[in-house]
């Protein structure tokens, strides 16, 4: 079966045929994230196992050097200090996930805001075009009715002139 630990440069080998075969995704290689995680875990584990020596006191000469009590105290002190580092490592690991998530949300917010500005710009453009078309409609109405009014005035004046002339003849 495939290995669960993606920390090898070896090509994947099929279990059934025992032949090397290429994978579709290529060999899984060590990357920065895997390297950081492995180093962080191993350092934290090693700290728990090894820090005790640093806190072990040397009391008494020869075979009486140290005691069970001093070893116990040194162990507790080492565990306490190592736990602080382990917790910090966990927090750092979480921060590595949290920061891109926060940045992603901020990006979504800004992109949504940008699309809002674009919508407003399009509305402004359409509003300007609407005002221009409205004015053109009104202008044509004024021109047509103005022409018609002048034609009516002319027709009435001509009619009156005809009546005046005919009345004078009579």
């Amino acid at each position: 079966m495939f290995s669960n630990t993606a920390s090898t440069n070896s090509p994947v080998r099929y279990q059934t045929s025992q032949n090397y075969a290429p994978t579709f995704s290529g060999p899984i290689t060590q990357n920065d994230e895997f390297a950081r995680q492995a180093r962080r875990d191993s350092m934290a584990q090693a700290a728990f196992q090894g820090d005790q020596r640093g806190y072990t006191t040397q009391a008494g000469p020869g075979i009486r050097a140290g005691s069970k009590q001093s070893a116990y105290r040194a162990g507790l002190l080492a565990d306490s200090n190592s736990a602080k580092g382990y917790a910090q490592a966990q927090q750092d690991k979480f921060n590595q996930y949290a920061q891109p998530a926060s940045a992603g949300l901020l990006f979504q917010e800004r992109q949504a805001g940008e699309q809002g500005w674009l919508r407003d710009l399009l509305l402004d453009r359409d509003d300007t075009r609407t005002q221009e078309r409205k004015a053109a409609y009104k202008r044509r109405s004024d021109v047509v009715t103005g022409d018609f009014q002048r034609a009516v005035e002319d027709a009435i004046a001509a009619k009156n002139r005809e009546v005046e002339i005919a009345s004078s003849i009579l």
């Binding site: 565990d79 736990a83 382990y86 996930y97 509305l123 409205k134």
Partner: protein, 176 residues
């Protein structure tokens, strides 16, 4: 004999906004319409972390095992367990707080995004409705103006014809 025109009755109450009235046909739509596909926001309000990631982040292995049976080994193991438990609880609390803050902010931003889209739709509805109203006003004014001028022309022609008829009658009367 000529009759005087009767004045129209009172105009009556104004139509109520938002309701159809056959005496006053509604121009345009009654309300703003959402964009095609409805109001949608790209802001995701889901937690950015899956349960597997959270479990792996909060997982704290117990690094010390005292294999002895003495009191020192057992108490040191208990002490180490208490440290890891505390650390795991602190991580869970931290992750929960982050998730709550994240989703609160995302919900707020999503609400603002949708509100901005609704505001835009309302502004567009106002623009379209006022345009339709203006155009209807212009068309109505145009029709009324044409009717006025047509009636004026007809009236003046009839007056001129009457004046002509009067002149003819006057001339005929003089001959008699």
């Amino acid at each position: 004999m000529a009759k005087k025109a009767n004045p129209p009755g009172p105009l009556g109450n104004a139509p109520k906004p938002g309701f159809a009235n056959p005496l006053y046909p509604t121009i345009g739509k009654l309300d703003a319409s959402p964009p095609q596909g409805g109001y949608r926001s790209q802001i995701n309000t889901q937690s950015p972390f899956g349960p597997a990631l959270l479990a792996s982040t909060a997982k704290v292995a117990n690094p010390y095992h005292g294999y002895g049976t003495g009191a020192g080994d057992m108490t040191r193991s208990a002490f180490a367990r208490s440290l890891t438990d505390t650390s795991r609880n602190a991580m869970n609390r931290s992750i929960d707080k982050f998730n709550v803050d994240y989703r609160t902010q995302a919900e707020k931003s999503r609400g603002e995004d949708i509100l901005a889209q609704r505001q835009n739709s309302m502004d567009r509805y106002r623009m379209d409705t006022l345009r339709d109203v203006y155009n209807a006003d212009v068309a109505t004014g145009y029709d009324q103006r044409v009717k006025d001028l047509t009636a004026y022309q007809t009236r003046e022609f009839k007056n001129a014809d009457a004046k002509m008829t009067a002149s003819i009658l006057h001339a005929v009367g003089g001959l008699i």
